[in-house]
């Protein structure tokens, strides 16, 4: 398990850097697909099989197809950021390093607080992962699920409206 985690962590870091630093948008998108697939496998390690499936279908499937499609449609030329202003890269990297250091100090070697709940992996796998997650979603989290369904509807309507509008 530790070896698998180390490999996946290295994979996620390399592809994450690729997402941020690649010059051409299509490479950014492909690195992001690789990153999301790696993250899906991490979900598998964390015994969240349904989340693994949803991650692959929704993120690596639907969302990234949308990104790649738009890149193919618009064909944006490579980013002009590099070489335009070195100080922005420096400032961005510096603030990022400070932020990461703060996060790591905050999380350093500390156990999670809070009382453990009843859903050990044995309980979840005995009932079935999809069944347990679905029960949680449609009982405890019923209201948030309904609200996000309305949000999806509004987003679809808004996208159609934006696509129909003539640009000024």
């Amino acid at each position: 398990m530790a070896v698998a985690f180390a490999v996946l962590a290295a994979w996620l870091l390399v592809t994450g850097i690729g997402v941020v630093a690649s010059r051409r948008p299509i490479y950014n998108a492909l690195f992001l697909v690789a990153n999301m697939l790696g993250l899906a496998v991490v979900f598998l390690i964390l015994n969240a099989q349904f989340l693994f499936a949803a991650q692959i279908i929704v993120y690596a499937g639907a969302v990234m197809v949308l990104f790649v499609f738009i890149i193919a449609l618009l064909n944006p030329e490579s980013d002009v950021t590099v070489g335009r202003s070195r100080s922005e890269w420096l400032l961005g990297g510096l603030s990022g390093a400070v932020f990461a250091a703060l996060l790591i100090v905050l999380l350093a070697n500390r156990d999670l607080g809070g009382r453990p709940g009843p859903f050990t992996p044995e309980v979840i796998n005995h009932a079935g992962n999809v069944q347990s997650t679905g029960t949680a979603l449609y009982t405890t989290f019923l209201l948030p699920v309904e609200v996000t369904s309305v949000l999806l509807l509004v987003a679809a309507v808004g996208a159609v409206y934006l696509a129909m509008r003539k640009p000024r």
Partner: protein
């Protein structure tokens, strides 16, 4: 589980930071969107890890909601980007300053 919980949280924090750096230094709105997706993914990782180590399903349920919200966000954001492109403007967030006026 051989791996301590905070390893997952560190990984999540580093990925989130990478996404934040990307949002700060990139100019192409599509790439900035991808970096935002990276940050949302990092948060999902933290949710799933805490959920696993506290034997709870709440984190997984929240991760589902985050996935849904990010799908909605991508749809609207890309519609706006296509609209900007159709208006003949440069794909550069520094040039998109109509809201300032």
């Amino acid at each position: 589980m051989g791996v301590p919980a905070y390893y997952f949280l560190w990984l999540s924090g580093v990925l989130f930071t990478l996404g934040a750096i990307g949002v700060l230094i990139r100019r192409n709105p599509l790439v900035i969107f991808m970096c935002i997706e990276l940050m949302l993914n990092a948060v999902n990782l933290a949710f799933a890890a805490i959920s696993r180590y506290l034997n709870s399903l709440d984190g997984v349920a929240f991760a589902f909601l985050v996935i849904t919200v990010s799908a909605a966000e991508v749809v609207v954001g890309i519609a706006i980007i296509v609209q900007v492109y159709r208006a003949g403007r440069a794909m550069d967030v520094d040039e998109m300053d109509l809201m300032k006026e």
